[in-house]
């Protein structure tokens, strides 16, 4: 019996761990590697209409407990990405096609392409904190988000997830807008807008100045977002932010997530992290005679 199995928006995952968007997902074969290492599903790099080279380096700041990144959404563009999807599919796990765009119609176009390429779901990146004109700037407005979701829903038949930003006090309003527009699920959180400064050089480190904070430092914020979302919306929630151990993952599940995505830990600990999280959760479930789905949101029962 597979205790780890979860179901969300009609998709079945053999376990609730997913590779987060941006983690090596530029290439199809990396997604296959993640699946081989135990990820229950994988998310592609956020792909846009045209190829983008991203920002020049430095694009990453590393610290004991966090990263700050400003890659600048490098991606080969949706046309070339078909080839990557063709290899990615060999991973044998559901693929979430992550997309970003500056207009509603571009979102719809990209989503359609992802479905054509074989994506099991679409993830709308409405939350990148450092790319001008994309992501977060639209992701804080419930009406804009509702429009995008509605349009995308009209053009694909796979489930549509909206990835939201925590850089606002309106997260819950935006999530409600997603639900109203028939969105199938919420992914939270993307990174927090952050900077790093070099004292020696008296300047910001990232070439783009601004980047996104991720890793263990953001887990308490991600958990809060998921916990709040679980009270506010009925559609499934995927938790992201600082997941490194089985306990981190379980905290998200108990807060209300039906699955978790793993980003920074893939750099900090390697791809083995998927197997370790799954083994840990499996032992816990066995000892407690429980199945994964029983635990979704249990932390709400006692406050």
């Amino acid at each position: 019996m597979n205790r780890l199995k979860v179901e969300l928006a009609g998709l079945e995952l053999s376990n609730p761990t997913m590779l987060a968007s941006g983690m090596m997902g530029e290439t199809g074969m990396s997604l296959v590697e993640a699946a081989r290492n135990g990820a229950g599903a994988v998310v592609t790099k956020s792909v846009g209409m045209e190829p983008r080279t991203g920002y020049i380096n430095p694009t990453l700041v590393e610290h004991d407990d966090y990263y700050i990144n400003a890659m600048g959404l490098p991606n080969p563009g949706i046309a070339d990405y078909g080839e990557e999807m063709a290899s990615a599919i060999k991973g044998g796990v559901p693929i979430f096609g992550s997309i970003f765009a500056a207009s509603v119609s571009d979102f719809a176009h990209l989503a359609g392409k992802m479905e054509d390429y074989g994506a099991s779901a679409v993830e709308l990146n409405l939350s990148c904190p450092h790319a001008k004109g994309y992501g977060m700037e639209m992701g804080i407005d419930p009406d804009i988000v509702a429009n995008i979701v509605k349009e995308v829903k009209g053009s694909v038949s796979v489930p549509v997830f909206a990835k939201l930003t925590p850089n606002t006090h309106r997260l819950l309003d935006v999530a409600e807008a997603v639900q109203r527009a028939d969105g199938d699920g919420i992914v939270a959180i993307n990174t927090l807008k952050a900077i790093a400064i070099s004292v020696e050089f008296r300047r910001p480190i990232l070439s783009n100045v601004y980047g996104g904070l991720s890793g263990p430092a953001v887990k308490p914020i991600g958990l809060r977002a998921v916990y709040d979302l679980y009270d506010r919306v009925d559609i499934p929630i995927i938790g992201v932010g600082g997941v490194e151990t089985w306990k981190d993952a379980m905290e998200y599940i108990m807060a209300g997530a039906s699955a978790v995505q793993v980003g920074s830990a893939v750099g900090r600990h390697g791809l083995g992290v998927f197997g370790e999280i799954c083994n840990g959760m499996d032992s816990y479930l066995e000892e407690n005679g429980a199945e994964m789905m029983d635990l979704v949101g249990v932390a709400h029962e006692r406050k």
């Binding site: 990453l60 990263y67 990144n69 790093a196 070099s198």
Partner: protein, 258 residues
Amino acid sequence: MNGNEVVTIKEVVPEGKGITTLRFELDRTARPGQFFMVWVPGVDEVPMSVSYTGRVKGITVREVGTATKALSGLKGGDMIGIRGPYGRGFAMPKGKFLVVGGGTGIAAVLPAVEMADDKDIVDVALGARNASEIIFEERAENASNHVHVSTDDGTRGFHGTVVAMVDDILKKHSYDQVIACGPEKMLYYLLEVCKKHGVESQMSLERFMKCGSGLCGSCVIDGKRVCADGPVFYGREISDMLEFSKAKRDEAGRLIKL
């Protein structure tokens, strides 16, 4: 802890034509084959192999473009940003081994020569286009009793490629392993030669790197992250790579045929 740090250049050593070593103090453990991400503010941040692994570390830069030019022009007292060391380095082989360096790749393998503390268990083959690009020959001789040198134009040592020289060496001597770094084309032929002689190898690969720490995927070859799963791979792993010597990725992640 691999976090961002700023170091002051202690010494600048010209090694050969357009090749410069920068030495700086950094209290972190670095193994042969690992690399740093090196930041020149206002210019770029690029991967550079660790060419000295002691407390006073070093990188050895060949000038090929903007960032490497900026690095080559630094003076003692200047500062650079450092992240890392990152990546899987060379594993100390059991038994006798041959270290092969081609061009700037010599800088990356020299610490691997020095990790053997017996001058008889490690032999060395250094190759470059011409005599002025052969670096670290003396360092190699201090650590090994057999240092072979080749130049494409015959201005020093064996006249021909380092791969041709290694083929000769492998005919006469037997090794448990070959350790190598150099241009991908050289590694491609070297791998063929190693296979022919039935010798296992460890080779350090290069791909375009942004994050350097296994996140962004820009350095991926056949699903493996060169920065985190490599840069050192075993010959048997490289043999399975469809993109090795055939293709690389550009900055947008597009596949470019080589």
